[in-house]
């Protein structure tokens, strides 16, 4: 499935539901995305072996090794399902209030998206970066070889707290794709990285401190500047 708009596009391959049910027999090769510019993506690795989070064409592969997160960079992996966007330009808005949950995020994100001509009844990608008080990261760590299943999926979840850190989130919003690429109980599918790239993976929840920058796809600069503008002095 694909959503295309002026200057950006978003697509997803497979679904969360099929992946969890063990129906995603063939993983999605990430190598086909090597060389794609302005790529932002998220998904679990096939068989729940870890997570892939792509920030501006940099694929961060997260695996759990002896109860610690190991993040490497590379396209030589396969995903269980995969949602991605190609976005050339981003429109930013910085808000001075903390974001404590998905509802608060939606309150900031959706008006910005609408203002930028995005149809919020269709899926769209977004970025967030900020300094957080607390967040929780989840990485799948399935070490079993049998077919993947809902039971294995639950067992494979390993959670890590993040506190007092600078983070970036790549997210995908949709009101109509629960179980496809957003969780069954949410309109948001988000992956996170700490800016030092020490941690990356699926974002379970986040509580930011003040000042959060939210970005949605932008078509380019449209603001018009004229030197002979007749607006009175001292005003903009």
């Amino acid at each position: 499935m694909k959503v295309e708009s002026y200057g950006w596009c978003m697509e997803w391959i497979g679904s969360q539901k099929d992946f969890i049910a063990g129906k995603a027999k063939e993983g999605i090769s990430l190598e086909r995305f090597a060389g794609v510019e302005n790529l932002y993506a998220a998904g679990p690795l096939e068989q729940g072996r870890g997570e892939v989070s792509i920030f501006d064409s940099t694929p961060l592969i997260s695996k759990v090794n002896e109860a610690t997160v190991n993040v490497t960079v590379g396209y030589g992996y396969r995903a269980g399902f995969f949602v991605y966007a190609i976005v050339e330009n981003w429109r930013r808005a910085t808000v001075r209030i903390p974001i404590e949950n998905e509802n608060r995020l939606g309150e900031q994100l959706l008006p910005l998206a609408v203002e930028n001509g995005i149809d919020i009844d269709r899926p769209f990608p977004f970025l967030v970066y900020c300094y957080i008080a607390q967040a929780e990261l989840r990485i799948l760590c399935n070490e079993s070889s049998p077919d993947y299943s809902p039971e294995l999926h639950e067992k494979a979840k390993v959670r890590f707290p993040i506190t007092d850190s600078s983070i970036e989130i790549v997210g995908f919003y949709s009101r109509h794709h629960r179980g496809v690429f957003t969780p069954p109980n949410s309109n948001f599918y988000m992956h996170v990285r700490t800016l030092d790239n020490r941690l990356a993976g699926h974002l379970e929840y986040v509580r930011s401190k003040q000042l959060v920058t939210v970005c949605v796809p932008g078509v380019g600069n449209t603001f018009s500047h004229e030197t002979d503008d007749n607006r009175p002095n001292n005003t903009w």
Binding site: E88, T94, D196, K209, G220, N221, H225, N234
Partner: protein, 233 residues
């Protein structure tokens, strides 16, 4: 652009879709030449504003990231950041940019020459005339950064700025955001005499902001440049 703030001179650099303007000059500021200060409250409500400058009547810096003003003051050796008080700037460079094009740079960058080598080709690719001033943003996990308040040699009231009253910072291994301006032809006006860059920094936790003198990236960083005009697509 009619972005006049009072009756002060405001030489514009235009493109069709974003602009850079400045009021006063760094050279005049350092030389103590008196100019009409710019009340920052006039900027209140402007969206997509990025600016850097020096405070009037007191040693300090103003750094505006996406319309959020950060004020760093040096006062009795205590550096504070306050986003709410009303201040005036004696020198200010600002840009209004709606839309940014992001690039990730995965290489070690240290020093202005290396930064210019990383930045300028990307700016050209984005259709920016690098012979004219342009704004940029940098963000990421810095190996090292240093700077301070870029103060005049004396207070406007004639008091010498004591060593204790100056404020310098040096940070290591910390996430930062930088708003910067590049100008190869306005050195001493928009930028220091010996550099085409004028940059201000904030730590992502908003603990420190101020004039940036050096930065070193070891783990890659994000460069954002004004995106092309929408009608050029």
């Amino acid at each position: 652009m009619a972005a006049n703030i009072g009756d002060m001179e405001a030489p514009p650099t235009q493109t069709k879709s974003w602009c850079v303007q400045w009021l006063g000059s760094e050279g005049d500021f350092l030389a103590g030449a008196k100019r009409q200060p710019i009340p920052l409250e006039r900027l209140n409500g402007l969206e997509n504003l990025y600016a850097i400058g020096s405070l009037d009547q007191r040693p300090g810096e103003v750094s505006i990231f996406d319309s959020v003003p950060f004020i760093s003051e040096v006062w009795h050796s205590a550096e504070t950041i306050d986003s709410n008080s009303i201040y005036r700037a004696e020198f200010l460079i600002y840009a209004i940019v709606e839309c940014w094009h992001r690039n990730s740079i995965w290489q070690t960058v240290e020093g202005e020459k290396e930064l210019a080598a990383a930045l300028l080709p990307r700016a050209v690719a984005e259709g920016i005339n690098v012979d004219e001033p342009f704004p940029f943003l940098l963000s990421g996990y810095a190996a090292q950064a240093a700077g301070g308040c870029f103060c005049a040699s004396s207070y406007p009231d004639g008091r010498e700025l004591s060593e204790e009253a100056t404020s310098r910072f040096s940070i290591e291994k910390e996430s930062i955001e930088i708003v910067g301006f590049y100008s190869s032809n306005q050195q001493g006006i928009l930028t220091p005499q010996d550099s085409p860059f004028h940059m201000h920094l904030r730590t992502m936790d908003n603990r420190i902001s101020g004039h940036l003198e050096s930065v070193q990236w070891e783990q890659g960083f994000i460069v954002e440049l004004p995106a092309r005009s929408a009608n050029k697509h």
